[in-house]
Amino acid sequence: MLEVEGLTAAYGPVRALDDVTMSIAPGAITAVLGANGAGKTTLLRTLSGLHPAKKGRVRMDGTNITALAADRIARLGMAHVPEGGGVLTELTVEENLRLGALWRKDKRDRAKAFTEVYELFEPLAQRQRKPASTLSGGERQMLAIGRALMGRPRLLLLDEPSLGLAPMITASIMRVLDDLRAQTGLTVLLVEQNARSALSIADRGLVLSLGRVVASDEAKTLAADDQLRHAYLGF
């Protein structure tokens, strides 16, 4: 699904990603873990084309997307939900969702996608015409994920969906992701601070430290590795 080779990115002279190599299998949930400043967000931003890669290569389903613009990559089927969700508070819930599917030609399928998202996230269905600014933090996160799903992505990048949310809401969002994967075979790359909850639904995990991959393994193995947990994951 996604092949990353020697990916390096920097902010000015500061290296944020250093020679990252990874691969994601279709239908898998991969957790990206690590402390603040480990390069998790930069990894997602570089994959989705918001931040330029300095070196290395990213291929999605065999297509080299390293140098493509973010909107092109999105139209190829990669959806990136940025940190905080990036909900447009000036627009209504429905407009936000509509925006997620605008690039797709198939109009009939758009209507279907609306129904599916509203079924998936009940609270959004009740607030369709309300401005997104009236939503709670959890609802905004649902809207952000729902909006990404409107484009029927093959690969979903999620940046800290649990940030600032109550544990119960986080758990319900994780459950939705798990269900989606089971039902639609959606591939997910999940960045999380909360390593425990991320590893509980992930198949594989990747641990970043100072922009480098320090561990990459089955989620169970990572969760069982005491040394790694203490050193990088904080639980």
Partner: protein
């Protein structure tokens, strides 16, 4: 009472011009946070082209169409060629570029067509109280503004333009060609600007003909909130009528000062304009 009616109707027809030119500023400000000081110059060039076409062919409506088309093309070209390269550095450099462009275009127009006033025709009969020409001007502005608001509000392209204006990065992640939306925004703005120029210019055309109108349009946009199209349209008409009363009851020499006073008061009391939403967005 009769005089009051006269002044009100006069105010409405000049307000239409302020509303249209103000709207063209707002469309660009909303999308790029740049006040386009070159807007009157773009409109001026469009009107001069219309003047040339009208003189050559004698067909006023062909000239009108040429002005609108020229506006669209100039708006798109200015965004692509002049604004985009400097925009990445800072908003201030883009504003300075628009100021520079204003001076260059005004000088250029003077060099080509001379600084002497040329007679420029009205679209329709302009005599009498609220003439056919006034009705045409007001109607054209109202129809154009409504069409634009509808475009922003209900069409997919409008949704994409709003998303690009509010959160460009997020819009990109949703597959929106943000650059294209910006170019389109400038083209639309210059189109509305050309309409304003065409209805504001007659009876005489000279390089500084739109300067005064531009100051009032900017005032209208600030009254309405620089990022609020509906507010700006209302602001344009209110300002037009208000200044017409000032001119009629207090004396025409006070009009500029009154506009300035309104500007200062609005900025002091409601810095985001009477209908502005900037503060709400920043929270």
């Amino acid at each position: 009472m009769d005089r009051f009616l006269d002044l009100t109707l006069n105010g409405i027809s000049s307000g239409a011009v302020y509303a249209a030119l103000g709207l063209s500023l707002v469309i660009i400000y909303r999308a790029t946070r740049v006040v386009n000081f070159a807007q009157p110059a773009l409109a001026l060039v469009a009107v001069y082209l219309a003047y040339a076409v009208n003189k050559a062919t004698g067909n006023y409506w062909l000239a009108f169409a040429v002005a609108l088309g020229a506006g669209v093309v100039m708006g798109a070209v200015v965004e692509r060629v002049l604004i985009r390269p400097v925009q990445r550095k800072s908003e201030l450099s883009a504003i300075i570029v628009t100021l520079g462009l204003l001076l260059v275009l005004q000088a250029l127009v003077g060099m080509i067509w001379s600084n002497e006033p040329h007679a420029f025709p009205y679209a329709f009969d302009f005599r009498g109280r609220f003439s056919t020409n006034d009705a045409f001007a007001v109607g054209l502005v109202v129809v154009t503004a409504s069409a634009l608001l509808l475009l922003f509000k209900v069409t997919p392209i409008g949704l994409k333009m709003r998303a690009s204006a509010f959160r460009p990065d997020v819009a990109r992640l949703l597959g929106v060609r943000v650059g294209l939306m910006l170019t389109l925004g400038w083209a639309l703005a210059a189109f509305v600007g050309s309409i304003a120029g065409m209805i504001a210019t007659a009876p005489f055309l000279y390089p500084n003909v739109l300067d005064g109108v531009f100051v009032y349009a900017l005032t209208a946009a600030v009254i309405g909130g620089l990022d609020n199209p509906i507010g700006t349209i209302i602001g344009g008409f209110v300002l037009g009528v208000g200044l017409s009363y000032v001119s009629g009851y207090l004396g025409p020499e006070l009009v500029t000062m009154a506009a300035l006073a309104i500007l200062v008061v609005v900025l002091a009391v409601r810095p985001n304009g009477l209908f502005g939403t900037t503060i709400a967005r920043r929270v």
